[in-house]
Symmetry: C2
Subunit: 165 residues, 2 copies
């Protein structure tokens, strides 16, 4: 684990992570946002109107062809500052500790974050988007088209008080 400002709080549980990895990732770019400290980040991407920039590394920018045909994109990115491997955690505003897989917290065995963003435009190797909430300089892993047919579930519900089994 990485010792950082998030740390491990009472009631939290860490995974005993393996010493080796099963697969490797290439960072394909960086996300440029107005936020340089965790405390300044919006709680989620809908709580801000800031326009952010997706900088795709020139080695991968050929993959951006046809992307402007999408009104919305899914971005996957790497939360490199998160405490990795936290399995039960105590969110600041929750009544008690919760399983990591019931949370969108960046602290998880594979700290891959996901945001649905609105695509506003493209200039060369960069995209302008709305809907990000992460730190400036966050490594980019993937860009996908958002399909309402498969990705939009307006009926979905999360019961935060939820059954704990």
């Amino acid at each position: 684990m990485q010792a950082d400002e998030f740390g491990v709080r009472p009631g939290e549980v860490m995974a005993d992570l393996p010493e080796t990895f099963d697969a490797g990732l290439h960072f394909i770019g960086r996300l440029r946002t107005p936020w340089t400290k965790r405390k300044d980040c919006p709680k989620n991407g809908l709580q801000t109107q800031e326009i952010c920039t997706v900088e795709v590394d020139p080695a991968y920018a050929t993959g951006l062809g046809n992307v402007t045909g999408c009104t919305h994109l899914i971005l996957l990115y790497w939360m490199e500052q998160a405490t990795r491997g936290l399995l039960v955690q105590q969110p600041r505003h929750a009544a008690g500790p919760r399983g990591t897989f019931s949370l969108r917290s960046p602290a998880r065995p594979n700290p891959i974050a996901l945001s649905v963003v609105e695509l506003l435009g493209r200039e060369g190797d960069t995209l302008q988007v709305r809907g990000l909430d992460c730190l400036d300089g966050t490594p980019l892993l993937d860009i996908k088209p958002y399909y309402a047919s498969t990705d939009s579930r307006p009926e979905a519900q999360v019961n935060r008080a939820g059954a704990d089994q």
Copy 2:
């Protein structure tokens, strides 16, 4: 690159991938589906009613607490058989080659796939879900709660004919 049945077709472009990785992944479980050959997989998770199983490795299963409070989940998984690094590709049913980041194809620099699934139940370290389309045994990377507020965009559109810049 990995030589496999998907290969590289005329008009397609491969990235010159770095020899080292920037970050590593732990496989946290496996997806159990009825499909053992790529040609048998449904085109997407809405084209099947099959109930599939998410097997979480016991080392990570503590993280499942509270997950049954969610009606829908986002699963991230690793398309280990995909041709990695394809930047421009020719989908079987498209008119011409397209940028990878405008496609949901498994072939991409970081072959992380994403499905929104309906959570039907939990038994110990396994979840029953509907909405998967992948091969049996696919490695699991992450489970996240699906929030309609941030993840559902019914107005999103993809223009497949789309502008190519």
